[in-house]
């Protein structure tokens, strides 16, 4: 059975992308399997784990709970879009390495998206605000403490850079 295909135009990491997709294709599957942006992870596929978090128009959302057709005309930022233009790691990504804010790495893309979105709107978050921002992201390795430290370190570094 051939499915009806729908034309979509989505800005992904600053680059306009067009495709013809079936209505049932989830945003995360499109990013990974058609655009080969495999940084975004697929965890639970029903909106619990947060591994698939991406930014939609700058706000973190779950890419497993959206269909590509719904992203038509919107901006999507994946973990690949967080790195600096030369491909080197962002301040936040670097801070995750520094504080050992990851172990197996499965949750890391989602954690980075959630915490970068936090820092974008709140450059100097409290520990409680950081914990609230990652409340929708499960990590089974770190116990979260080093992730909180990574965000605190990134906030400090970004404040210094801004001076």
């Amino acid at each position: 059975m051939s499915e009806t295909l729908h034309a979509v135009s989505v800005e992904v990491n600053g680059r306009p992308r067009s495709a013809r997709v079936p209505a049932r294709l989830s945003l995360v599957d499109w990013l990974r399997e058609d655009l080969f942006l495999t940084g975004t992870h697929v965890g639970c596929e029903h909106g619990i784990c947060g591994a698939c978090s991406v930014m939609l128009d700058g706000q973190p959302v779950r890419a497993c709970l959206m269909y590509v057709v719904q992203a038509h005309g919107h901006r999507v930022t994946t973990v690949e879009g967080l790195a600096k233009p030369d491909g080197s790691m962002s301040v936040l990504q670097d801070s995750f390495c520094e504080t050992h804010g990851l172990q197996c790495g499965y949750c890391t893309p989602g954690m980075l998206i959630a915490t970068q979105a936090l820092l974008n709107s709140n450059p100097d978050p409290t520990e409680a605000q950081i914990r609230d921002a990652i409340g929708g992201n499960l990590c089974r390795c770190t116990g979260y403490q080093q992730i909180v430290e990574a965000v605190q370190l990134a906030a400090e570094r970004m404040a210094k850079e801004a001076k």
């Binding site: 209505a23 596929e45 029903h46 909106g47 619990i48 947060g50 978090s53 939609l56 706000q59 973190p60 959302v61 779950r62 497993c64 709970l65 959206m66 269909y67 057709v69 719904q70 959630a114 979105a117 609230d132 921002a133 409340g135 929708g136």
Partner: protein
């Protein structure tokens, strides 16, 4: 679409409940009607005695709206318990109400405040009170061809009005085992002029207790009066049992949390 396809069509709002249910094959709609790009379903309008929200207004928008928080504070208080940032960025007010999970926060607020739902079909519009709208677990009285268009939240005009929302869940952001919401208004002497409260997760729909709340009017909302009302309400609940909580424990929580919400609401009213 709804008129043509009836039961086999489902409206897709934020998709934070429906899409997981589809992922688990608990529902298999023949047609999904995406309402996310319909601009007229997204607004917040605060008027004299009522605040209106479009059904497809995102939860994060409602949470951040200062004018709304000033007139219907219970909404922001409840949204603090709803899911996580990622889900509130997509999840909608109307979607949560139409999904009608008896443990969910927004349906309880609607029930306690007596919100009115504006439903529209190709044939016309009608308004239903929350009490009539919620008909059972995950069930509403909206007909298959109707779309929830607006929600009208009553705004109390007493200057000293306080409200509170509380719940117990396994983890913050999960569905509540039991939740409670309360709103009270007091006069200059501290006497209650109006009270409303209810509990979620303790029956097939969120429950409000207008008759028991009416008994609080005229009292000073002292701890004993509050406790009596909360326990009278808990005695009326018929919760179910599951892996996480027995019916007996849920009924116990209903009384404890209703009293807690009423006391917090009272303290907020007194501080004004």
């Amino acid at each position: 679409m709804l008129a043509t396809h009836g039961e086999s069509a489902k409206l897709l709002a934020g998709g934070q409940s429906l899409v997981p249910m589809m992922a688990m094959r608990l529902v298999r709609p023949g047609w999904l009607v995406d309402i996310n790009e319909i601009a007229v379903l997204k607004f917040v309008a605060v008027e004299k005695d009522v605040a209106r929200t479009g059904a497809c207004t995102r939860q994060c928008v409602v949470e951040r709206d200062e004018a709304l928080a000033a007139r219907v504070p219970l909404l922001r208080q409840a949204l603090k318990w709803v899911g996580h940032i990622q889900t509130r960025n997509r999840g909608t007010v109307g979607g949560s109400l139409a999904h009608a999970d008896p443990c969910a926060e927004l349906p309880l607020v609607a029930q306690v405040l007596g919100a009115r739902m504006l439903l529209r079909s190709a044939k016309g519009a009608r308004t239903l009170e929350a009490e009539k709208f919620f008909s059972g677990p995950m069930a509403t009285s909206a007909r298959p061809d109707e779309c929830l268009e607006e929600i009208h939240w009553p705004a109390w005009s007493w200057r000293r009005t306080g409200s509170a929302f509380t719940e117990i869940s396994v983890r913050h952001g999960d569905f509540a085992m039991v939740s409670a919401a309360a709103q009270v208004a007091i006069d200059g002497d501290g006497r209650c002029v109006r009270a409303a409260f209810g509990v979620g997760g303790a029956g097939g729909t969120p429950l409000a207790f207008p008759k028991i709340a009416a008994r609080l009017v005229g009292t000073r909302l002292d701890d004993a009066a509050v406790s009596d009302a909360a326990h009278a309400a808990a005695a009326e609940t018929q919760p179910g049992s599951d892996l996480h909580a027995s019916a007996e424990y849920r009924r116990h929580l209903a009384g404890v949390l209703a009293a807690r919400a009423l006391r917090e609401a009272r303290e907020r009213a007194r501080s004004l």
